[in-house]
Structure formats: C-alpha cells, structure tokens
C-alpha cells in the first residue's frame, strides 16, 4: 500500500499526460467531423446522382470496416506503398494520422445522423414558411435548424460518448494516449513494472470524463425540451 502511495505521483503525472493526448484527439475529431459530416450529408442527399452514389459508397465502406484497420492503413500506407511518409515520425505525426482517420470515420457516422435530422423535419414546415413569404435561407435558419438540432442531439450524444472510448484505438499506432500511459506501468516504465492498478485509474479517467459529457449533453437535451 505504501508502495502504491509512493508511486502515485509518477503514475498520475503520466496518466495526466496521456489523458491530455486523449482529450486532444477527442476535441480535434469533433472539430473536424462536425463540419465534414455535414458536407458528406449534403453529398449523399444531392440530386446529382453520381455525387450521392459515390458519397454513399464511401460512407458504406467507412462504416462497414473497423476503425482500427482504417487507422493502420492511413498511418502506414503513404510510407510503405507510396514511399512518401507524409505523417513523419514521432508523436506529432502519429497524432496527425490518428486525427485524420478519426475525423473521416466519425464524419461518416455524423453524416447519417445529420441526414436523419434534416429529413426528419416535415415538409410542411418549409411550405408554411414559403407561403408566409420567407426566403429559403430564412426558413433554414429561423424554422428548420432548431428542429434539426433537437432531432440530432440524442443520437449525437451516443456517438460522442463512443468516441471518448474509441480514442483508445489510436494506441494501435503507438499514439501515447492514456491507455498507452496506463499500460506502460505493466511492462515497465519510470522504474515501475508489473503494476495493474494504474489501469484502474485509467478506467476512472474515462468514467469521469464520460460522466461530465453525459451531464452536459443531457442538459442540452433538456434545454430543447420546451418544444416538440
């Protein structure tokens, strides 16, 4: 027990560093996937058939294969096949590769959620706006947007919670996120080896973070509860 207390500051320090990387990947993914998902959603709803078909094909492939494989391919393909290691070595390169894979993957999931939200607003809302002399953009911003957001929030919350845990997959290309940090004390690091307890701490970080997110997203959902 006293040994654990002795090791605690070292472990917490390492976990904090790892968690920062996890948090960075999480935020960058959201920041990239929110807008890219919207672009993909409009692509798949396009009246121009070739565009919508290609977009749907991409979404199908990305959603139909494991994120882990996508990570490995995106990280290794440029260097091994194209002889052009665009990601560079080191942690920064791994982070860039991981962010790219996560953004593409999550944008595809988000696009389907957006599509559901957009198509879920009844056509009568647009028609009512039109006969009241509103422009299409007024109808979008003043009438439809909030109704879309209301429809999108619950499924989006699920994806966001899943993303927190999915960031652990970046460990496959040796990104030093929090599980990487926790696991290192199992193998030996900072003079500590064979220690399983840092992994419990690692799990606790996830639990707390997801707890906070669940509360925030729940509050957002509640805020939109004033209309139906």
């Amino acid at each position: 027990m006293s040994l654990i207390l002795e090791q605690m500051p070292v472990v917490i320090g390492a976990l904090n560093t790892g968690f920062l990387q996890t948090l960075k990947l999480f935020l960058v993914t959201l920041l990239g996937a929110f807008p890219l998902g919207l672009v993909i959603a409009f692509g798949s709803m396009s009246a121009f058939r070739p565009l919508s078909l290609v977009t749907k094909l991409v979404v199908w492939v990305v959603r139909g294969t494991p994120l882990m494989i996508q990570l490995l391919i995106i990280y290794y393909f440029p260097g091994l096949v194209l002889d052009n290691p665009i990601w560079g070595g080191g942690e920064a390169g791994r982070f860039l590769a991981a962010s790219t894979a996560f953004i593409i993957n999550y944008a595809c999931y988000f696009s389907e959620i957006y599509r559901g939200g957009i198509q879920g607003v009844p056509a009568g809302q647009e028609e009512a706006g039109l006969v009241l002399g509103m422009t299409k953009s007024q109808i979008f911003w003043r009438v439809k947007l909030l109704q879309m957001i209301k429809r999108i929030v619950p499924p989006m919350s699920n994806e966001i919670i899943t993303l927190v845990k999915d960031t652990a997959l970046a460990r496959i290309i040796a990104l030093q996120e929090i599980i990487f940090a926790g696991q290192s004390f199992l193998k030996g690091s900072h003079g500590i080896s064979g220690a399983i307890w840092p992994l419990f701490f690692t799990a606790f970080y996830y639990l707390v973070f997801n707890g906070v997110l669940t509360l925030l997203l729940g509050q957002l959902e509640k805020k939109l509860d004033y209309f139906r």
Binding site: G124, E127, V131, G133, R142
Partner: protein, 258 residues
C-alpha cells in the same frame, strides 16, 4: 372586377393529369367553397395558387395583375415568387405551426422578417415591432386565444393550433385566404370552433377559398361552390342550387355520401 382570375390551369404529376384546364374567378369579399372527393385535384389547385406547385399551363391574375403565366416564365425568380405569394394566405390541414415558437411568435415571425427588409426599419425599429406585436395580439384575441399567446403549439389543442395558424396567415393581410381542409385533422368536437372563426371572417367580407369536406358548412358560408372530380370542375354555382338541386349526375352521387 374579379379579384382573382385563373384560366386554363393544368397540372400533371408524372402521367397523372391532376388538373385539367381549371377556370375560376372570384369577386372581392366572396367566399368560394371547393368540394369533391380525395384525389379530385382540390388541394393541388390551392397549391398552384400559392406557388407551392407550378402549373404546366394557365394564367393566374390577382387584381388584374398577371402573377403567373405558364407561357412567360420570366419573373419567376425566387424573389419575385415570394412577393407574389403574399397576395395569398394558406391555412394547412395539418396546421404546420412552427413548434419552437409560441403562438405570438408564430403570428409575428414572417411579418418581422419582412419588416426587417424595409429601408426605414433601422430608424423606426421600435415603432414597427410595436405595431407587429399589437396586430398579433389583436388577431389572437379575434381567434379567441387571448390566454394562449405564450403557449407553444404542443400545449394547444388541434382546434387552437388551427386558429393560431389562421391568425398567422391573416397577419400578412393577404388579398385571398385559402383553406386546405382546415378541419380534417381535428376531432369532431373541435371542428366547430374553427368553422366559427372562418364564418366570422366571411362576415367581415374576407375573400376566401375553402377546400372542405364539411358540406353543411360549405353550403352555409359560401357565396359560390365548385364541385371538382378527376381534375375538372364538374359543376359550380350558388350553393343552394349545387347542394339543393345538382344538375350533374356525378355531383348527385358525391353529395349522396354526405
């Protein structure tokens, strides 16, 4: 002079001729009822007048101004259509109120957006918004919804929703107010309150076109009745004649079901 003239309105969806050369005219202050079975083209006719559908053929004139001419597609830009639409108001069968806005906000939204486009809006903002609010209150009072101003649509009954929708349409002061089966989505005990306000509007000489399945109401409120079947006007005239002694066999068959 007729306030509304529509000539030779034709509309085809795919291979179905929904409207086959419809002619109609309406005097200011008149109420026109359009009756007929589902699929006879009544709703499509209203949607054509409100520019929600574009007729394949025909001309639509309001107050002598040609709003639509299928032969002359110029002047059909989004901005032009927007302006022309304002001659008409449309009350939907399913209300289509904006759920995130209160009754007051529903009534005021479109007028506020239009007012913001006026050149003097910035200097007279307070005054203009005050007027819009006053008008909305008055309209909701008129609809018997004084106590419901701050309610959201989901807190209102179907009949109350439809009355908000009528106030919302009236806020833009259309020349012609159209109703697309305004009571078809309502429980029978709620239709009365909606028909009552429409009747009051008729008494105030509001020009209206009412598509309805409420035969006794149509007979009671209308100055002129049109019976449509299969995309054509089969019979039209004074409601007492059309309902009392229909000349056409198809009209007779239809009325027998009510």
């Amino acid at each position: 002079m007729a306030i509304l003239e529509a000539e030779n309105i034709c509309k085809t969806f795919g291979r179905t001729d929904v409207l086959k050369s419809i002619d109609l005219s309406l005097e200011k202050g008149q109420v026109l009822s359009v009756i007929g079975s589902s699929g006879s083209g009544k709703t499509t006719l209203l949607r054509c007048l409100n520019f929600l559908e574009r007729p394949d053929k025909g001309v639509i004139r309001v107050n002598g101004e040609t709003l639509f001419d299928a032969e002359d597609p110029s002047g059909l830009s989004e901005a032009a259509i927007r302006r022309k639409r304002l001659h008409f108001g449309l009350v939907f069968q399913s209300f289509n109120l904006f759920p995130q806005y209160t009754a007051m906000e529903n009534v005021m939204l479109a007028r506020k957006l239009l007012a913001a486009e006026q050149p003097d809006f910035k200097t007279r903002k307070k005054e203009i918004l005050g007027e819009i609010e006053e008008q909305a209150k008055k309209l909701l009072d008129q609809m018997g919804l004084t106590n419901r101003r701050d309610n959201y649509p989901h807190q209102l009954s179907g009949g109350q929703c439809q009355r908000v929708a009528i106030a919302r349409a009236l806020a833009l002061q259309p020349d012609i107010l159209c109703f697309d089966e305004p009571t078809s989505a309502l429980d029978p005990e709620l239709t009365g309150e909606v028909l009552k306000v429409i009747k009051e509007l008729a008494d105030q000489n509001m020009t209206m076109i009412i598509v309805t399945h409420e035969m006794s109401f149509a007979r009671d409120v209308a100055d002129h009745v049109i019976f449509m079947d299969d995309g054509v006007i089969v019979e039209q005239g004074d409601p007492r004649e059309v309902f009392g002694s229909p000349k056409e066999e198809r009209t007779r068959q239809f009325l027998l079901r009510y």
